[in-house]
Symmetry: C2
Subunit: 285 residues, 2 copies
């Protein structure tokens, strides 16, 4: 089994509205819960009550299409509102992410690190020290987890920051975005993914769910190509549509039925009929 | 700051429907996220997509009424479906719970441990070894966290198990319930809380949300009295009603408004008007 570490602030955790995009459901995808693997379901990174769609599930789904026999687990460690200083080597967020990643490493090989952070540092001249701090943080993470060469993918900041809502104060986002890009060039095995053309929730700071699907596809493109993604992909809409275009497997259908039953949306009789139908379907497959 | 460790299986994590009870919202309550404290919001213990209302928020709210100047944090480590064997000293769930609790201990004093487990062992004669295993697990937890004397509160199993739905296989729940009770008698500073009269979700295995509020009040009664709770409390309905009877503070109102705005349910103009109203209200208070 392979796995992916998710680190950064709210746009890595995800705040896209869950009802705004088709759900990603895939037998071959997992998420870390209490140090063990569970079936992936969004929200994956539940740092807050308002957690929603982030880039990692789309990344994972695209990965799965290229690795149909393998399983991928997501390790959610992103924390809404965190400044880069909160990711210093001795800070709780960093120590906790390392602790979670080590649980994951007991049963999986971490094959990439997805990072997105910067909104909380896009003010008060933080950009003066951001590049040195970011290099220190990312180097520490690689060293602590003994991952010197896995792809580390840094997402850029969206252009809508600094304009309205909760994003209003992020006036120095262009400077931070440039430093993130620069850091990807400075460090080995580290790639930059642009947030160009991505759009916001009404709050003006969080990427909306359709944009997070696109962002995840871009992160995966950087992973697969081992190269920066500096512009939206020409076939991005098609790649996003493909994420949820396949028919559900019997096990995936059963997961959905279990969820509906657990939430009181179907009766036990209806649920058991669905189980039997899924088993018949499975036997036929 | 003080804190409470939540351990066990799904009825400690909580599967009560969130919409079935008034929400618990309290400036003085926190939950552990990524090794740090955040404002408490349900679901607290997000082990699964279907996580909902468990007993701990009601416990915390009752505690807060008795400690109005203090802050309490919840440490969610319960894992749906886990058997007692999954909580052996070297098992990932136990090691992970200890790791989470240690992050909490950096900034808080753990004042109680809430445990609820047994459904997954109510079959196949597991009761033959359950008492020894439970003693070993609980003793290890106390030792590892250096908490030899804090109240450890063990919830009993509900009577609806073994009858229908997902609860159908739990035919040996009465034997396990008796062993949990016995273990509370065997161990020092350990108390038993009955699940008598509590009712199930349609799935036949999970406590419904109103029952979880009652269960949390019973857990708190055991904590406060340092004594078993062997029958429903005479004034349980009143105690449950009191949990959510107080008017919201300005900060609590603001939290709710922030959440609605983050979820796209109000405009920025409406949100800012609410912020100003809350500040005026705060200045008046």
């Amino acid at each position: 089994m392979q796995s992916i570490l998710m680190v950064g602030q709210s746009n890595m955790a995800g705040r896209g509205f869950l009802t705004a995009v088709p759900p990603i459901l895939n037998d071959h995808l997992r998420m870390l819960r209490n140090g063990r693997w569970q079936q992936l379901a969004e929200p994956v990174n539940v740092d807050r009550e308002v957690a929603g769609v982030g880039p990692a599930p789309a990344f994972a789904q695209a990965w799965s299409a290229d690795h149909p026999a393998d399983t991928l687990g997501l390790i959610p460690c992103a924390e809404g509102g965190s400044a880069l200083a909160d990711w210093a080597p001795d800070a709780p967020l960093m120590r906790h992410a390392i602790s979670e990643a080590r649980f994951a490493q007991e049963t999986s090989e971490i094959v990439a690190i997805l990072w997105h952070q910067g909104e909380s540092d896009s003010l008060n001249l933080h950009y003066r020290t951001y590049r040195d701090q970011l290099r220190q943080t990312l180097t520490h993470l690689r060293t602590a987890l003994n991952l010197p060469t896995v792809p580390l993918i840094l997402g850029g900041l969206p252009a809508f920051l600094g304009q309205h809502g909760f994003g209003l104060s992020a006036t120095e986002a262009p400077q931070i975005d440039a430093l993130i890009h620069q850091t990807a060039s400075d460090l080995p095995h580290t790639y930059f993914v642009t947030a160009a053309d991505l759009t916001a929730n009404p709050d003006g700071i969080h990427l909306d769910a359709p944009s997070q699907r696109r962002f995840g596809v871009r992160y995966y493109q950087a992973f697969r190509q081992r190269a920066d993604v500096l512009a939206p992909l020409p076939d991005e809409p098609q790649r996003v549509a493909q994420l949820t275009a396949h028919p559900l497997t019997p096990a995936e259908t059963l997961y959905l039925q279990s969820k509906r039953f657990a939430l009181g949306q179907t009766t036990f009789t209806e649920f058991m009929a669905a189980v039997r139908a899924s088993q018949t379907q499975g036997a036929d497959a």
